[in-house]
Symmetry: C2
Subunit: 344 residues, 2 copies
Amino acid sequence: MNVDGLVCPIPITKYPQVQLAHGGGGRLMRSLIHDMFVTAFGEEVAQHDGALLSFEPSMLAFTTDSYVVQPLFFPGGDIGQMAIFGTVNDLAMCGARPLYLSVGMILEEGLSMETLWQVVQSMQRAATRAGVRIVTGDTKVVDKGKGDGLFINTAGIGRLESPTPIGPEQIRSGDVIILSGDVGRHGMAIMAAREGLDFESTVESDLAPLAEPVLKMLAEGVEIHCMRDLTRGGLASALVEIADGSRQSIHIRERDIPVREEVRGACELLGLDPMYVANEGRFVAFVPVQDAEYALSIIRSCGHDAVLIGEVQAKQNAMVTMTSLIGIDRIVDLLSGEQLPRIC
Amino acid sequence: MNVDGLVCPIPITKYPQVQLAHGGGGRLMRSLIHDMFVTAFGEEVAQHDGALLSFEPSMLAFTTDSYVVQPLFFPGGDIGQMAIFGTVNDLAMCGARPLYLSVGMILEEGLSMETLWQVVQSMQRAATRAGVRIVTGDTKVVDKGKGDGLFINTAGIGRLESPTPIGPEQIRSGDVIILSGDVGRHGMAIMAAREGLDFESTVESDLAPLAEPVLKMLAEGVEIHCMRDLTRGGLASALVEIADGSRQSIHIRERDIPVREEVRGACELLGLDPMYVANEGRFVAFVPVQDAEYALSIIRSCGHDAVLIGEVQAKQNAMVTMTSLIGIDRIVDLLSGEQLPRIC
């Protein structure tokens, strides 16, 4: 569906805000589903119980994520776009082609109808861009003060495209680690928007769909051993989890990890480490050294500034070490708590 | 997994409540996922991005629902069981065999860890009973006052088993309408639990998985034209939506619709109509008259007190009419708002 330029299909003079009855199974709920969601996502989401999808013989990938980010709109994106790209990216990280999404909305009574429409439009644009179809959905409304405007869950189905297994246990000593771009922007964009911080230049989220470079690498025969998108916990946490899962030792070089000046500055100001800050459009890929240059060129051809940041080492202990900017090796570990709540 | 008798795997003396950091991507989140969710649901839910599932050539059904019921525990069930059976039932209503579920949890900071564990155990028991596997999941934590204890989204994948399409547009004049049991119990059970109402006898929710009778009917060759589970909006709303979708006229007889005495009494007291009260383990099936007796006997063999409540009439207008208890025909329509918020 093309949703550009459409006004909110619910008459907002009559229903400026979401009411509890918009989730109650009666006329108002039907109007919300038919007038808004069908307009944006298409007829199939109005089917009562679920969608029927033809599926060629294959392995399928299945994933889910809920999105509770605050604020709903931030420099570089919004919760709707995030709910599409986030789940698309999880499927891509499985080596799968994202095909179908479900959408579950939990609306807080009093949410502005116009805001909801903006989010819904954004979701449809994102789905079109990522090449997926929203095929089934559900809406619940909770009483004022029992939610926070809008939470979105998406689940996704994809068709496995990778001829070989992908995962930490596939990593081999000597594999190189590709990072698809600079880190820390999403978390800092949310932080700045939420706290009203005024950095010298606006930090925009890196929010982006990642299926294209992954599917291209697979189509071109790059042997991907492991992939991971760098969401909550950032690059550091992703690598620690991969090292744990692989029982291999990972070494990275801080000087090779791109961090934009404005992100580095904001992190220093706030006492945060960009290595642990969330991203929404970045991933790492572990590939054999002979595939490294080709993989880099493919990812770059999709508009990502991919770089090599390290390699898997022939050591017995599953840990991540990093040569810091000043040349000293240190261990990279998980944080106990978190840096920023509700960044995704 | 057998979760019976297991104590909460998170040390509740140390972590009596969910903290924001349990959703933050660090050690605490990992502990929640590995110690609690993997213990209950199995290793595969700990996979980072999604589950890979083998799928034989077929049509696939895909559905999602969020569950925001309050209170979390009520006579006859709890939110966890509901989140499993509800999505299983939506797949069954598509004529599909439920196979795989995803679980997305939105936890409110401060939720009792023991409560979460009880819900998680209940989900696993329900999944085992319904014959489905929980294969992927996600957890988010929102700050205190921005949620309501626990919201759960489940999405489900099933394999289509029906040889013919199922839906309102398949209904034919002369089809009979089977109702799988008495109506109104779930809504009244929630209402009583929420408001602390003390009826003469406790009303227990009818919450139940519905795949068994549906799959048995399909296996035995019953020609099911349309099915619908009777959740929000109850029997009346489901029939009105089916009439609308089919452009056929539906007639039912009130005296043939089972309503338990305690439900009827509670509804009278509260000014509610059991025809519109939510159920969580009831469905209607539209079948050709020659299949009616066989379909009834199959549903009854699965422990449901199925009855015939009406038929599709050869009229031009898409409406639902009902012969009331006192013998007068009236039109059944959608309610504008809702009777009970957050019953599912």
